[in-house]
């Protein structure tokens, strides 16, 4: 019994059985999402308490400086938390952009300021449509009820907008091909490349950033399981 290998094998065999790996992995993913939601709720309550202190401080300040400047009022939203990501501490996960309160009343107005309007919205769509959709996404998914609060970095919101328009521009490209409209196809390709480059420029992480190149979208559209782009 002194042989190390034999003893090691016996030790390993003496282990109580582990839970089923596949089931544990699936439930772990679900639990991970619920932990994030629950923890954000807790953080939201903590932030709410902090905000009360800020309001009290602000009221005191208002007694001294009675009229805030118009510029200050125009450039600040309740959605802006005043906290920022740390790309040095969290490389590949965060950039230095601000954490945005997804449950703020003026989130829609704030997201509207993030639209990259130098890039055209897809035909038949407007940037307002996308900013509204992104701003309503979290509350519509069941967030912002009770203690469910959430924050996300400004860059993530920008990436969501780019991802949404990228798909719709992809459909424009598909339709232009079906219609043999070469100028529409060229425009769709030009904007898709611009959208993809912008997403890769601002994303803090490498790899998939949620946007499509014209080639990747066309390749997906030829997949028999592709269900998008119905006219």
């Amino acid at each position: 019994m002194t042989d190390h290998e034999e003893l090691g094998a016996l030790l390993t065999a003496s282990a109580p059985p582990a839970p089923d790996h596949a089931a544990a992995a699936a439930l772990s993913a679900t639990l991970a999402r619920q932990v994030v939601q629950a923890d954000r709720g807790l953080q939201g309550r903590i932030r709410g308490l902090r905000r009360r202190h800020k309001v009290a401080t602000a009221a005191t300040a208002a007694a001294i400086v009675l009229v805030p400047t118009g510029a200050f009022a125009a450039q600040h939203f309740l959605a802006q938390t005043g906290t920022y990501g740390d790309p040095v501490l969290n490389p590949g996960l965060q950039d230095g952009s601000e954490q945005i309160d997804l449950c703020a009343e003026d989130l829609t107005d704030y997201v509207a300021t993030l639209a990259p309007t130098d890039l055209p919205a897809p035909p038949g769509h407007s940037w307002k449509e996308y900013t509204d959709r992104v701003a309503r996404g979290y509350p519509n998914d069941g967030g912002c009820t009770g203690s469910n609060q959430g924050t996300v970095q400004e860059t993530s919101l920008r990436l969501e907008l780019l991802s949404a328009v990228s798909g719709d521009w992809g459909c424009s490209l598909v339709w232009a091909g079906e219609d043999h409209d070469s100028s529409a196809a060229m425009e769709a390709r030009r904007v898709m490349v611009g959208v993809d480059e912008e997403a890769r420029r601002i994303s803090p992480s490498e790899g998939s950033v949620g946007t499509f190149t014209p080639e990747s979208f066309l390749a997906q559209s030829r997949d028999p399981k592709f269900t998008g782009c119905e006219r």
């Binding site: 839970p19 089931a23 544990a24 992995a25 439930l27 993913a29 639990l31 923890d39 965060q94 993530s156």
Partner: protein, 184 residues
């Protein structure tokens, strides 16, 4: 989903099952491991930016969190999430421990001999042979140096072999672990 959420979910699905197995082997009743696991995931989420990138290091990092959480766990410490309830049912449905149900006599001897070891010896052996960790991973979990840990594993194995040869092992009562303390 933010990059931090993606990283956290990757940790939960990649390392989570092994962390859950670690906990399930050290809690009685076994399903209490689900509650401890919820605490482990909460801590992991709050520290996700400190998680090491290589998978083997990330596993040891999460097991170190699990080890500390297990040592400090108290029942009903917080709200149980829905998925934790499902995990409890999954653990209840999975096969029970083989101890004391007429298994291999030699395995029973090994389990008894393990019970006769000191807590530190038992811990490094179980991390090595039950959880399948390397010496460096064990060192990261217990918070010690790599060389010292490898030496500790070797000595613990020698003490276990001696205990088996002399038959002087102290029997381990069935289900002797506690939900409030790590086994070793």
């Amino acid at each position: 989903m933010t990059p931090a959420e993606r990283r956290f979910e990757a940790l939960a699905t990649g390392c989570g099952p092994r962390v859950l197995a670690y906990l399930a082997r050290r809690t009685t009743p076994r399903e209490d491991a689900a509650d401890v696991y919820q605490e482990v995931l909460t801590t992991t989420w709050r520290k996700v930016h400190h998680a090491p990138a290589p998978d083997d290091e990330a596993l040891a990092w999460m097991l170190a969190i699990a080890r500390r959480t297990l040592a400090n766990h108290r029942r009903s410490a917080g709200r149980r999430l829905a998925a934790t309830d499902r995990l409890r049912h999954e653990l209840l449905a999975s096969p029970p421990a083989r101890e004391g149900i007429g298994g291999d006599d030699r395995l029973d001897e090994v389990r008894s001999a393990l019970g006769s070891l000191g807590e530190d010896d038992r811990e490094v052996l179980l991390l090595t042979y039950w959880e399948g960790l390397t010496g460096d991973q064990v060192a990261a979990v217990v918070g010690a140096g790599g060389a010292a840990t490898r030496k500790r594993i070797q000595r613990a194995r020698e003490r276990l072999a001696a205990a088996l040869e002399t038959g002087g092992a102290v029997p381990v009562p069935s289900g002797a672990t506690s939900a409030a303390a790590p086994r070793g």
